[in-house]
């Protein structure tokens, strides 16, 4: 099996996996970074969202070749102690019910706000539309993104 060098949360890691292994399973099974969640495996639910050079991407549909030379951030590396403004807003709104999709929601929201710090409601809905929440906490997610946007100014 080929060896890959990947940059995750600011550290360089070496993994020895088959080349078709999606980044999701490299993170979860080989690097013990299980905050990134498996939901559908086909890029439809957003539970596995990570940042690739700051852009939100679906790790279930990314190969190692596609992230070669790029920096990966997972939920574990979004902040050192859970104090990223998006994480703070999520806690303030007490968003989660089951909580399973929330890492993906937070990763989508944080990449979006970094590029669009003053979003309209419609911008937020469009940005978040790819992330399913089965508990349907959408109204709280929307408010949390608004709070985070205000606090990031």
């Amino acid at each position: 099996m080929p060896t890959y060098q990947i940059n995750v949360n600011g550290a360089s890691k070496t993994v020895d996996v088959a080349e078709d292994t999606p980044v999701l399973w490299v993170l979860r099974d080989h690097l013990d970074l299980v905050g990134t969640k498996y939901g559908c495996g086909i890029g439809q639910c957003g539970a596995c969202t990570i940042h690739v050079d700051g852009t939100a991407m679906r790790s279930c549909s990314l190969t190692l070749a596609q992230i070669d030379g790029k920096s990966i951030t997972t939920i574990e590396g979004l902040s050192e102690d859970g104090t990223h403004p998006v994480q703070e807003a999520w806690k303030e709104m007490d968003v989660p019910q089951c909580g399973y999709c929330q890492a993906g929601q937070i990763m989508t929201a944080s990449a979006f706000l970094a590029k669009n710090p003053n979003p309209s409601e419609e911008d937020i809905e469009n940005a978040m539309n790819g992330n399913i929440c089965r508990c349907a906490t959408y109204t709280r997610i929307r408010k949390a993104v608004q709070i985070a946007a205000e606090n990031m100014d």
Binding site: V17, G35, K37, G39, I75, P96
Partner: protein, 756 residues
């Protein structure tokens, strides 16, 4: 003053009285595995004590006054890991910031009803949780009384501090706990008055909030162990098929693959409970080193399937025996609809008959008849089914997401050939339940696989496995008829409802009891597609159908839809039809939520361009009324706002309960509007989120506002009740917005109206 006899949970206390001799319990854990206690405390920024003292099965107190409270029930997103310990903490009189919450393992000696089902977690443990806290408070006071030589009745306990004002003595719980652990457990304890609650009724944030937003390993699918293997299943591609043979030679050579074999889950003579239900009793198992290797190997496996014969399963549900017949053959949605329509037009079983409904319909000046339907649904918890097991020769350890650990333990023990006490089950946080994890066949599957591999194993379903091997929400059909006299008075009511394979009818719920001539009938259709409980079973369809019909009826009668319901409820309250016991609901509480929502939503003061629908329903002992606002944007109806009024008794954690109300409403809008599982040649046509639609951000209402009825009644259900009625409110608002009625879910594919 409320006195409760501690006998209520005597089992818990007998055990601990035995311990009281020793008093000191280090560690307190039932199992040493998997409890990162230090990490948990650090996360909560609390210093851990040097010594813990177990007071009873629900709590231990440290020598520094920090308290650990066990949360006995499965956490599926209903927030019991926060709200159940809140109840203990309130009676204990401890500052919430000094509480550490720990998930209790399955322990039938200590706890009862460790189930996430029927919206009963809080209501079934309400007394026990309070008693556990109050007993500890009593023992702490007794210890202080002995130390200070003063009467215990003169000692106050407030926020973890014991005080005897007259003598000027004061001590923290941590200082008294070693002595308190030696105090005999009282025969009965005094509970607080409701007016004295200091934590119950206040909003407390999710105890796992920080861990969730930082991606900590909380869920079953996150479990990792040294030497752990991954397993996944290959099941028949359609209902009506079964395993014939498989060729695993090539797959066994694939990288990382350890073994491929078939597993028969239950023996034919196994005495099954309803929760042991499974779609496919024989499956092929692929075991390997990593998840991706196993998922890839599954795709490469050569399996031959054959037609399955008709089978009848004998199941028990709380002592009742049920026979479930699964016919042979491949079913499809078209023939399902045809069969339901045939049966709705023929004779059905009478479930309730008041007065003379036949005569009323014969005398009617006008009869209104409308039919409603809904498809099968997959639960689609975001975390697919999974479980961990480590089975050795004489012990089985299971860890993961299950709503029914106690009932599944029986099946696991039986299948492994181990006594019950050798099977230990622990629960992780769960990525959703919605009823799917009531059916824990995956626990038996992983236990058998671990036993065979002699290794720790985590079983993981793919999304496709999860959606195509479901225990689905049944498909239902209902026809409502109303008889009106020449003056437009309602003189007769008839509901006939059925489903595949169960009827959605609740014959004794509203409007039963409010109409003199009433007939309720139902029927069922056998299927080989496995179905079971889905958030608010049966209510999740019949509420929307009934509440849509009542809306149409009110319009026909020229009445405001809320006034019309209140008139019926007034009749049910003042002069109910049938005996007082025959109606399941409390008409005054039902009317109460309608009146509250009318006030809070400013019903009747319509804004231009806002189209409103109302609905109210009773289930799981709670009452919910909702008003839903739709606006038209580019000729498309958009749900703008939901206003909810809820009577669920005492609300333990109001903000968390509001979250459930918001989620329930949005979930209901989503399922009524978009979701559906259809079948062709026995196989579901939607097996992932590319074809199965769940509601998304853009489709969710902008706001959900929740108002609770102030109440002194012990808590009733909250996880399920907000879900069913919204479907009626949605249909009724859509009618106002678009001019057409919606009868068949999902509404997005509903054909033009049947009104004629």
């Amino acid at each position: 003053m409320t006195l409760v006899r501690t006998q209520l949970g005597r089992r818990a206390f007998i055990k601990n009285t035995g311990m009281a001799g020793g008093g000191l319990v280090l560690g307190f854990s039932f199992f040493n595995a998997c409890k990162p206690k230090v990490a948990e405390a650090v996360a909560m920024e609390l210093e851990m004590p040097e010594t813990w003292y177990e007071i009873n099965g629900y709590l231990k107190i440290g020598d520094n006054g920090v308290v650990t409270i066990m949360s006995p029930n499965p956490e599926i997103g209903q927030n019991v890991r926060t709200s159940m310990p809140m109840i203990v903490a309130d009676e204990l009189e401890i500052d919430w910031k000094n509480v550490v919450v720990e998930q209790a393992p399955l322990n039938t000696n200590l706890y009862s009803w460790q189930v996430a089902g029927g919206s009963r977690s809080i209501s079934s443990s309400w007394q026990n949780l309070r008693m556990a806290g109050a007993t500890a408070r009593h023992m702490l006071k007794e210890a202080a009384a002995q130390a200070w030589q003063v009467p215990a009745s003169e000692i106050t306990a407030i926020a973890g501090v014991l005080t005897h004002e007259a003598s000027g003595n004061s001590a923290g719980y941590g200082e008294m706990v070693s002595a308190a652990a030696q105090i005999e457990v009282p025969e009965e304890v005094e509970l607080k008055k409701n007016s004295e609650f200091s934590i119950i009724g206040t909003s407390r944030k999710n105890v796992d909030g920080k861990k969730i937003v930082t991606g900590k390993p909380l869920f079953g699918i996150d479990v990792m162990r040294e030497g752990m293997l991954i397993a996944s299943l290959v099941h028949p591609p359609a209902f009506g098929k079964q395993l014939k043979s498989f060729d695993a030679e090539e797959v066994k050579k694939m990288p990382g693959i350890r073994d491929v074999f078939s597993v028969k889950l239950y023996d034919d003579d196994f005495d099954k409970m309803a929760f042991h239900f499974t779609a496919f009793n024989e499956v092929v198992v692929v075991v390997g080193e990593t998840t991706w290797q196993v998922f890839q190997a599954k795709k490469a496996l050569n399996v031959e399937w054959e037609d399955a014969p008709e089978v009848t399963q004998n199941l028990t549900l709380f002592g009742n025996e049920m026979k479930v017949k699964h016919p042979a053959g491949m079913e499809d949605s078209e023939s399902h609809t045809k069969r339901l329509k045939e049966l709705i037009a023929s004779t059905a079983k009478v479930a309730r008959r008041d007065g003379n409904p036949e005569q009323a319909f014969k005398n009617a000046a006008k009869v209104i008849e409308r039919s409603y339907s809904c498809p099968f649904l997959a639960h689609n918890t975001m975390e697919p089914m999974n479980f961990f097991a480590n089975v050795t020769e004489d012990h089985a350890e299971l860890l993961g997401p299950t709503q029914t650990p106690e009932w599944m333990e029986v099946a696991v023990a039986e299948r492994l050939g181990l006594p019950l006490e050798k099977v230990d089950i622990q629960m992780t946080r769960q990525g959703g339940g919605f009823g799917r994890r009531l059916y824990g066949h995956f626990m038996v599957e992983v236990a058998v696989i671990s036993q065979r591999m002699s290794a720790p194993v985590k079983l993981v379903y793919t999304r496709e496995d999860d959606m195509s091997q479901g225990i689905y929400r049944p498909s239902y059909y209902a026809t409502y008829r109303a008889a009106l006299d020449a003056d437009n008075n309602l003189i007769g009511f008839h509901v006939k409802a059925g489903g595949i394979p169960e009827s959605p009818l609740f014959a004794n719920r509203f409007p039963a009891g409010s109409i003199d001539n009433y007939l309720a009938e139902d029927f069922t259709v056998d299927t080989n597609i496995t179905t079971g409980a889905f958030r608010a079973p049966r209510s999740n369809f019949i509420a929307g159908a009934e509440q849509s019909f009542l809306d149409e009826l009110a319009e026909e009668m020229g009445k405001d839809p809320i006034d019309f319901r209140l008139e019926l409820l007034k009749r049910a309250e003042e002069n109910p039809v049938g005996s007082p016991e025959s109606n399941d609901y409390d008409a005054s509480r039902y009317a109460g939520v309608l009146k509250l929502v009318r006030e809070k939503a400013n019903w009747g003061q319509n804004e231009a361009g806002v189209h409103r629908g109302v609905s109210a329903y009773f289930c799981h002992q709670s009452y919910v009324a909702q008003v839903l606002d739709v606006v038209m944007e580019n000729d498309t109806p958009v749900v703008q706002k939901v206003t909810a009024a809820i009577d669920c008794g005492i609300v333990v954690n109001p903000d968390a309960a509001s979250n459930l109300s918001e989620g329930g409403a949005v979930d209901g809008i989503g399922h009524a509007m978009y979701s559906g599982l259809t079948f062709k040649d026995g196989a579901p046509e939607q097996i992932n989120f590319d074809r199965y639609r769940l509601i998304r951000h853009r489709e969710a209402p902008k706001a959900v506002e929740t108002h609770f009825v102030e109440s002194d009644i012990d808590p009733t259900g909250m996880g399920e009740p907000p879900f069913p009625p919204i479907m009626g409110a949605l249909a009724n608002a859509l009618y106002k917005a678009t001019g057409r009625r919606y009868y068949h879910q999902p509404f997005i594919t509903d054909k033009p109206p049947l009104i004629g």
